[in-house]
């Protein structure tokens, strides 16, 4: 089967992060500092990615700025012609580092915010990071980077989406991504605490629709709908292994964030194999290309060319079979799994915070709030 050129590489250069957001897209079992690839490893991976056709690079984590080599990696990426985004919490983005990143040719910085309300933001992040984030935003703006703000929406903050939009506009963001939580990794663990109500989702969508028009030309607002409230699944990353790849801190290379849920696949490492081999030859990347793998109702469905059967990771995580239709789809016989999850999610949000040293199956510790 012929393969596309990928356009985008997300480089999760570390899983270390000072924040503990309960919706983190990192896997539950995270890499430690000793597992991380070296600067030279990452430079080789970026060069291989460019050779494969990648044009967009995300330097992400964890918090990428916990590594001292982000500036060197950004400079290398620029020398290869990649358009690079630093995906950061803002913590650690001092003026000095921001100036070095500008000199390195970094073009775009995305800072996460947790909420417009400071106490709530602290509670969601599991730490007090707001002053550092606001200072970082001011520096990013002043130095002339393309500046995005990303806010993950969920039950605790979605009612303030209007205030969040005004906060982002006041900080001078060029882009604002309002992303309803996708339930993978830590977010799936915390689904009952994070899931908004249908009424909350409808109200927030109305606010966002108006704001998108009002801010047009100054701040571009992207509003990502929550798929559990949709009738059809999302066309995840434009299809499995078609445009996107992600390299984890230890080199393990995935077609998307959620792929670690699919325990029946083995994902090769960029330490052992070339990115080209992984993209073109590895069994994991070939597993769900095309539509030969599909079952009914996808196989005979005209929407298979639109959404590719939805998300393989969600299908596996929720139904136990990655070749099933994404259960978000109302044509799926297993849609009841989604409807029950929506119904069961209520009450005050009690989070299981993201900690590197605390896999959910283990005992308590680290001061994390456990879900009973």
């Amino acid at each position: 089967m012929s393969t596309n050129h990928p356009t985008t590489l997300l480089a999760e250069i570390t899983h270390r992060c000072p924040l503990h957001c309960p919706y983190c897209s990192n896997p539950l079992e995270m890499n430690r500092a000793a597992d991380e690839m070296t600067t030279d490893d990452w430079k080789r991976v970026f060069a291989e990615a460019r050779q494969l056709g990648v044009l967009q690079l995300g330097l992400s984590g964890g918090e990428p700025l916990v590594r001292p080599d982000v500036e060197a990696l950004a400079a290398h990426a620029r020398s290869l012609g990649l358009y690079t985004t630093l995906v950061t919490s803002g913590v650690g983005l001092t003026r000095q580092r921001a100036e070095k990143l500008r000199e390195a040719g970094l073009e775009h910085i995305q800072i996460s915010l947790q909420d417009s309300d400071r106490a709530s933001a602290d509670r969601i992040a599991g730490m007090s990071a707001v002053p550092q984030k606001l200072a970082a935003a001011a520096v990013v703006r002043e130095l002339g980077f393309a500046f995005s703000i990303n806010v993950v929406l969920h039950r605790e903050n979605i009612d303030r989406v209007g205030e969040v939009i005004e906060l982002a506009a006041g900080l001078g963001a060029d882009r604002l991504e309002l992303a309803n939580t996708q339930y993978y990794g830590w977010a799936l663990e915390n689904r009952n605490a994070l899931m908004p109500t249908r009424a909350q989702v409808a109200a927030a969508s109305d606010v966002a629709d108006v704001a998108i028009q009002r801010h047009r030309g100054r701040m571009q607002i992207l509003y990502v709908l929550p798929d559990y409230y949709e009738s059809y699944p999302k066309p995840c990353y434009g299809g499995w292994g078609r445009h996107y790849l992600l390299v984890a801190p230890d080199g393990r290379t995935l077609p998307c964030h959620g792929a670690t849920h699919i325990t029946t696949l083995r994902f090769d490492s960029a330490r052992d194999r070339s990115l080209q081999w992984i993209w073109e030859e590895s069994p994991a990347f070939q597993a769900f290309r095309g539509d030969d793998w599909m079952q009914e109702p996808c196989r005979s469905c005209p929407r298979k060319a639109v959404d590719f059967g939805g998300c393989r990771c969600q299908a596996f995580a929720l139904t136990g079979d990655a070749t099933n239709t994404d259960p978000v789809c109302t044509l799926s016989p297993l849609r009841g799994i989604i409807d029950r999850a929506v119904e069961e999610s209520k009450g005050p949000p009690i989070y299981q915070y993201r900690y590197l040293s605390l896999a959910p199956a283990e005992g308590g510790g680290d001061g994390a709030t456990r879900r009973e």
Binding site: H5, G53, Q56, G81, A146
Partner: protein, 89 residues
């Protein structure tokens, strides 16, 4: 806002044109996005410098293509205006 022959289009300041040696193709890169360009699209965008009008751009291309391309230029750029990759003063 509809584009006319007197509009002055410019690339969004965070978008840049490049040549992709892998695809052997011109590309438009911007935050979180890529547009793979055909030769005609690239030749239009090369002229979107924030000084030329749509009419100027069409006239320059008319010499190359030997026909009136004003409507094509407007149609092409309107799609990029909608995506906010082309800004018009």
């Amino acid at each position: 806002m509809a584009l006319t022959a007197t509009s002055v289009p410019a690339l969004w300041r965070f978008a840049r044109l490049d040549f992709d040696a892998v695809r052997q193709q011109r590309v438009l890169l911007y935050p979180e996005g890529v547009v793979l360009l055909n030769a005609t699209g690239a030749s239009i965008l090369d002229l979107c410098d924030g000084r030329r009008t749509v009419g100027d751009i069409a006239a320059a291309l008319q010499e190359r293509y030997q026909c009136d391309v004003t409507a094509d230029v407007i149609e092409y750029l309107s799609k990029l205006v909608e995506r906010e990759l082309i800004r018009v003063d």
